[in-house]
Symmetry: C2
Subunit: 337 residues, 2 copies
DNA sequence: CTGAAAGCGCTAACAG
DNA sequence: CTGTTAGCGCTTTCAG
């Protein structure tokens, strides 16, 4: 790789160095049909020599950028799983993965992000308007991760939040808990019928309690986006008269806050806590959190694979649902006598 | 926002709809000089109406893409801090942050990532060849995060690994520890003199022990990239004759593995453990890890700010060093009697 | 099998 | 103050 000063080397430089036309170079790069072996090797030598790299911008303008955009609403342990899976699926293909972090709690920033410079988009954005996504999907392939819609224009990858939540509630009820609280995200994330995972977990939580004849013991708490919110909300919950004997957290990050509050209240081991996502921390012996595994890595991998399929021409929508498994650990126990 | 089918709306569509030239539209978008208020509002209406968004690819080809690339070698809690800081610095500017995860432990993938489609690059890549970076920096502004070189062509942001490590060792030695092991990354990451944080932490660890007359008690262990490696290495350490009474982990993620192994060995509370980065988990009451804070969020913010300065024309290299603070928690105690 | 030419959507000069 | 023009680097017909 040679050291070039200033301006980047373009396809013209390569063509000149190899004594061929720009089109010829283009063909070599893309392994296109109709290049003589002799020319190919000459061009490849020139490319190597000059340290040429095709301009993504120019390629994108003309056709594809070979970039896949992964929109992440926030950075969390679960997102790490998704990213890991997507990385694996993309490895070995000519595509590169690019992450676009949503810049804050405001909506709509999604649109401006990867858009225009990627060949396809994986959206982990439970709050984007489905109609808007359908529109976007007419222009660029889209895979939506984590919502239970059945769209026509794009693919979806979801966890089985119904089964997962039922497993949680069955577990807690079987242990003998009756005062089971649910600590979830802000109301905007759980609007009934909006199809987000948290909306469904909440709905199933309610249903399960009702089925067990415990509807009046339903207790839903929400965290906000301030630091340690889950912890403070839990503390308040535990300080109430008839405090819950079990707390079902919307996901592991929330559960960590719950565990912190439980520990701070000196109730470690006597209040059952369940999380969701089975992140690495849940398995840590000092945390030892019962949690629902929903194959996060596999979800990311499936999403990326579906996107690649679309890029290869598939047009009919597909949907993939992850299997959930309740991983029981030390954070759940029967209610204190 | 109207629903467009298929092809995206271009600047020509807007120009036509507003009855002006494409150049006029371009000027409006960029707030450039020389547009009458009347025309401006007409154009803005057309933009709104058609749901026009400028093509990043086309802009990049011509000039700037308004994208800043943040190269992350791996997704971790510390990276989360960096990203958070960078996001804050970029908020309110016309720039968007884009993350490029290195695709695996192989080297060199860095180059192909954000490159070509971003106006500037923040590299959190301790293993990239500095000469190569200097070359890259002649073409696009670069801020290197986390390495103690004094380059000429780009900016750097680092933590004070000297002071941070000294604080750790002083703390442990003052507590009375003598058999202090250091659990760090693979050898490639700590090549002496290579300027990575881990190389320096290792070097200072050695120096401090030597200064304390304990050079022969130096014990360096390394984790590899397999899952739970830190945990297994720690278990081995603890099983040795004369096991260490304190373990200084290269960063918090390693420390979590150490804590797990210590807990598994039933030695919780009798083996001191120190981490680095002061991530969220370190502060969790169930983890309660003594750790060095190096202002991760501020580092990310500084890096992005420096990049923006470069984009505004600064050319002389700058460097910023974060302050380190040892946060003492329950994971460190005097050696067992 | 190879090269010439026409744009992709946008911006930056310049001309009106 | 507004419009015309000439590319940015690449891919893609279409002739040679």
């Amino acid at each position: 790789m040679s050291i070039t000063k200033g301006r980047a080397v373009t396809i013209s430089d390569v063509a000149q160095a190899a004594g061929v036309s720009r089109a010829a170079v283009s063909k070599v790069i893309r392994n296109a049909y109709g290049v003589s072996p002799a020319m190919r090797s000459r061009v490849e030598a020139a490319i190597e020599d000059l340290g040429y790299r095709p301009s993504v911008a120019a390629r994108a303008l003309r056709g594809s950028s070979y970039r896949l955009g992964l929109e992440v609403p926030y950075v969390s342990a679960f997102m790490t799983q998704i990213v890991e899976g997507a990385k694996r699926a993309v490895a070995g293909t000519p595509y590169q993965l690019v992450l676009a972090p949503a810049d804050g709690p405001e909506h709509g920033t999604f649109e401006s992000l990867a858009d225009g410079i990627v060949d396809g988009i994986i959206a982990v954005a439970p709050l984007v308007d489905p109609a808007w996504l359908e529109d976007l999907a007419t222009r660029v392939p889209v895979v939506m991760l984590g919502r239970h819609d059945r769209p026509t224009g794009y693919d979806t990858v979801v966890g089985d939040d119904y089964a997962g939540t039922r497993a949680v509630m069955d577990h807690l009820l079987t242990l003998g808990h009756r005062r089971i609280a649910h600590l979830t995200e802000a109301e905007t994330m759980t609007v009934p019928g909006c199809g987000t995972p948290h909306a469904i977990r909440l709905e199933v939580y309610r249903t399960c309690l009702a089925e067990a004849g415990l509807a009046e013991l339903t207790r839903v708490a929400r965290r906000d986006h301030t630091p340690d919110s889950a912890q403070r909300v839990t503390a308040r919950l535990l300080a109430q008269p008839d405090p819950p004997t079990a707390i079902f957290a919307g996901h592991d990050d929330i559960a960590l806050g719950v565990l912190a509050a439980v520990a701070a209240a000196g109730r470690r081991g006597s209040v059952a806590v369940v999380g969701y996502d089975n992140t690495d921390m849940a398995a840590h012996p000092l945390i030892d959190l019962t949690s629902v595994d929903q194959e996060g890595v596999e979800m990311g991998s499936q999403a990326a694979t579906m996107l690649l399929e679309r890029l290869q021409g598939r047009t009919e929508p597909r949907s993939w649902t992850a299997t959930t498994t309740l991983t029981v650990r030390g954070s759940t126990m029967p209610p204190a006598a």
